[in-house]
Amino acid sequence: MNKIYFDHNATTPVLDEVFEAMVPFLKEQWGNPSSIHWAGRGTRKAVEDARESVARLLNCTPLEIIFTSSGTEGDNHAIKGLAYAKKDKGNHIITTKVEHPAVLNTCKHLQKDGFDVTYLDVDTDGLIDLNALKSAITPRTILITVMFANNETGVLSPIKEIGDIAKEKGVTFHTDAVQAAGKIPIDLQKLNIDLLTISGHKLYGPKGVGALFARRGVRLVPLIHGGHHERNRRGGTENVAGIVGFGKACDIALKDMDREITHLKALRERLEKGIAEKIPHIKVNGHLEKRLPNTANISFEFVEGESLLLNLDMKGIAASSGSACTSGSLEPSHVLLAMSLSHELSHGSVRFSLGKSNTAGEIDYLIEIMPPIVERMRSMSPLYAAAK
């Protein structure tokens, strides 16, 4: 059976060059980067080179990069770290209803700890209202955290405008850029972002490594206390091989970005057009222009997304929907519900997130096998019979 992978927003395969770059640091180069002797010198240099690579991707300085273990850690560090550092100045945080659980649940945790959190609504395109943001800001507001790109729909937040508002009001601005980094340009010299989270495995690097950008002068209480690693900002001996792979992945992402954007946009258009032509009663979710180039979130009316995904899996096609529960089953998408999609359409959604290695042939195969699956499942739905 052909295996086709359309779930790059979940994770990406490690590129060959990335793997090759990592191998020496899993074997010969095992020194501790904090050591003063010969064994640590090589690994220290490797970590700092990687830091430069990450900084280049984001157009910031290497000293503003803190290596973490994951996007989730970066979000926790940014949000809790800032909240506790500024708790004398205020206790109000503004976020949105469509954030990743790493942000939502961190905010919920802070609510139990005495912080007030405003969860901004989004419109049917998945975008927040900037006026609502402005009026939510109070003298007690210390942090705005709004994702760069949504993991389920790919919708891009108005990051430039939010940054400008935050700067004007003197509020720290964090963005979860885990889905955006490596897929679209991020220029921290042009954007008023104070804190930004990224992750290695979403951009063809290894799992277990991420980075938090903290603009010079932004003070955070560490999440992980320990030795003097990461300039006292994050304890723990560095995941050298992971960091090296991450750096390599950032280099490649930057180099290939324009070409990939063109490639992915063309594939996505082929996919969305093909499905719309072959299958009635569908809806593409999220703002059609303000979107990542690789993400297509499509609702199939009268069909359960979960059953559709299982059927696709049996045909070797990996796609996704909503986010996975602890058990591995799927939760109804809080993102689509926040976009005022009906319960029905939220349940019938599938996310196809494309990547480097995908081809037009793979898209065509999907378009060929989807219609009979959808039709068979619809034929079992009493609602569909009534609608016909």
């Binding site: 359960e304 979960e306 059953s307 299982l310 059927n311 899996d313 049996m314 529960c325 602890t326 058990s327 591995g328 089953s329 799927l330 939760e331 109804p332 068979r376 499942m377 079992m380």
Partner: protein, 365 residues
């Protein structure tokens, strides 16, 4: 493509583990599935680590490990909504109306043989299999539901709502095995669930008792405990704390007293000596006939000499079943039965065959 595809509903216990192993050994193309019944991330509903009940997070973990060991694809399907609406709400509503509901039958009826079966057919599976101790045979082109061969484990009572259409799409691979044989099979295949403790009671009632579970959802209304003549003997703490035949927890002097009736209209608990617990007949609603010929005989006047079970562990009593008002049935026992309990299932047997059944509406003294 000649192989038949079957979806196996896996609770994480030994029975469904062996169901999967057997089908795999018999050459079926298998898909393992567990149902997520609860939002395990919610602390206040912490089903997460419950052992001794089915479908907890630990059980899903076991089911996945068994599927992995047998090299079978495994999925967890989210049925929280259906479970909450069709099983838990039904359970709560049953107690609030003075009945003793049987959520396991409801879970089989709706979650397994409607929701899961539909998912199986949606995945182009030919069959849905479960680990129930019951058998399905095809006799002259007619599908029949039979008791499992292990008399200690027979679960056919919980399956009376099945239709012949469902029976033609369902497999019970362990129905012709004893529990000991099932465990032996699991051990021989090296399945981690081989010695797992049996699930007990109602899976979603984790609190000390079902009454505590209900107390967390609805407010109890205290009232009077009376005898058959209406004399007040004491007070009760909310009717849902009681079930027909209950003796303990009444806190009455004298006696012994047994719960004879739950009068929701008057919010009264009627108690009395044990003789009052016996009934000669019952009325049942929502009658389902699996056997078409039995159903025909019923509507043409009734059936005699039928063995009837009024609760899971009941040995059965020979009875006559006749039509009653509004599609209900009247069951007359050949000898009086103790604690006929509204809300429980009454299941009709001819030897090993389940002819059909219904829900007990009321006892007739």
């Amino acid at each position: 493509m000649g192989r038949k595809r079957v979806m196996v509903a896996m609770s994480g216990g030994v029975d469904s583990s062996v169901a999967l192993a057997k089908l795999k050994d018999e050459g079926y193309e298998c898909i393992g599935v567990s149902m997520q019944l609860w939002d395990y991330s919610r602390k206040d509903d912490a089903r997460g680590g419950t052992s001794g009940s089915c479908c907890s997070l630990d059980d899903i973990h076991d089911a996945r490990a068994v599927a992995d060991r047998l090299d079978v694809p495994f999925y967890v399907v989210n049925v929280e909504e259906a479970f909450s609406k069709e099983v838990v709400d039904y359970f709560v509503a049953g107690y609030l109306s003075g009945q003793t509901p049987n959520p396991c039958v409801k879970c089989n009826q709706v979650l397994k043989f409607e929701v899961l079966l539909k998912k199986a057919l949606g995945l182009e599976a030919d069959f849905l299999a479960t680990g129930h101790y019951a058998r399905i045979i095809k006799d002259n082109g007619v599908h029949k539901l039979l008791k499992g061969v292990d008399p200690e484990k027979d679960q056919s009572y919980f399956l009376f709502t099945m239709t012949s259409e469902q029976l033609s799409r369902v497999l019970f691979p362990v129905g012709d095995m004893t529990k000991a044989e099932v465990r032996e099979y699991a051990r021989a295949r090296g399945l981690r669930t081989s010695d797992k403790r049996e699930s007990q009671e109602i899976c979603f009632v984790e609190e000390p008792s079902y009454a505590d579970f209900l107390s967390s959802r609805v407010s109890a209304r205290a009232g009077e405990i009376v005898d058959a003549s209406g004399r007040v003997l004491g007070s009760h703490a909310g009717l849902f704390n009681y079930t027909i035949g209950q003796r303990k927890g009444l806190n009455l002097s004298g006696g012994p007293f047994y719960v004879l009736d739950i009068d929701t209209a008057g919010n009264r608990l009627v108690v009395g000596p044990i003789d009052g617990l016996y009934s000669g007949s019952l009325i049942a609603r929502e009658i389902n006939w699996i056997s078409e010929s039995a159903g025909r005989a019923f509507s043409e006047g009734g059936l005699e000499g039928i063995s009837v079970k009024i609760r899971y562990r009941h040995t059965g009593v020979i009875s006559t079943i006749r039509p009653f008002d509004n599609g209900m049935a009247r069951v007359d026992f050949t000898e009086p039965q103790k604690a006929v309990t509204p809300g429980q299932a009454v299941v009709f047997y001819m030897n090993d065959e389940v002819l059909g059944g219904g829900w007990i509406e009321r006892a007739i003294k």
